[in-house]
Subunit: 181 residues, 2 copies
């Protein structure tokens, strides 16, 4: 649950981050920034701010804004209706992102799961993305990511996005955004 | 045919335009900028500079750089191997782009086909894209576009890119790049 105040503050900050990254939005896009707290009620720790540019049956492009040390929690994109799961490329545009996928865990990770949620994070192979660096997530791969201490702006290029089918490691998570009226 | 000098100059300018648009490339990407003159040997009039970020079986993302008044000639993306043609969203990041598709021709178009190639341009419904504005091209739709007088940087989000199947209105055009050794 995001309160109206939290929502407004997050939207304002998101606009600032995008501006800092040199990314221009139309007035309509500025008015439909999505704020996702994944139902945990701790947006600054676990959350994501999203501008969806296009999302058709075949492909999708978004900008993701992350506040300092904000985490997008561990999840995967399963096959839907006989189609392979969503394929995503994350390209860092501004700041730093620490991305975690399956594989050899790094010895000294640059990010840690949000306090209190450690049990719901299982993959710790680290990929560091600085501006201009990118990584493609193969469908069905669990992954989570966290911004560095300055926050981050990340472009996501993907196949069709159907967030409602995402499978989160943390059973408490609800993907549909809820804003308190 | 692009001469080695023209190629080097175009690559240098492309890097400058991307920097102006706030877009960061890795050193590897800076070294694989594609310069397409479509075989017409008039790069500054008819051509396109391209950085491909990702191009899998399912989706593709590129940055397109266009010099002042440079034109990407009229073409369409046909179905390939039973798959619908390429679907493309063009999002202007910097400068202005004049995009032309099928439909009611505009009375006073902001761009004209390159001199000498007028016969090979057939669609004149105008879409003007300023920074932050975008347009999605439905598969099979003929389209061409030209940068304004400052040039332009355009993000392209699309399904798989297979340029070799593109159908150009101008029969003189060859899509495969040729650089003179």
């Amino acid at each position: 649950m995001v309160t109206q105040n939290e929502f407004n503050e997050a939207v304002g900050l998101t606009r600032e981050y995008l501006q800092r990254a040199g990314i221009v939005l139309t007035p309509q896009e500025r008015d439909r920034i999505e704020v996702a707290d994944f139902g945990l009620g701790e947006l600054k720790k676990t959350g994501l701010e999203i501008v969806t540019y296009v999302n058709t049956d075949r492909c999708c492009a978004k900008e993701l804004v992350m506040f300092p040390r904000q985490t997008c929690p561990e999840h995967l994109h399963p096959p839907v209706d006989g189609e392979p799961g969503k394929e995503e490329t994350f390209r860092c545009r501004w700041g730093v992102v620490y991305l975690y996928v399956r594989g050899e865990p790094v010895k000294e990770p640059k990010a840690a799961p949000p306090a209190g949620s450690e049990d719901h994070y299982e993959v710790f192979h680290e990929v560091v993305l600085n501006p201009g660096e990118q990584y493609t997530i193969i469908p069905g791969t669990p992954h989570w990511f966290q911004a560095g201490s300055q926050g981050a702006v990340v472009s996501e290029f993907s196949t069709r996005s159907r967030d409602e089918f995402d499978i989160f490691t943390d059973p408490r998570i609800k993907r549909a955004p809820e804003v308190e009226e």
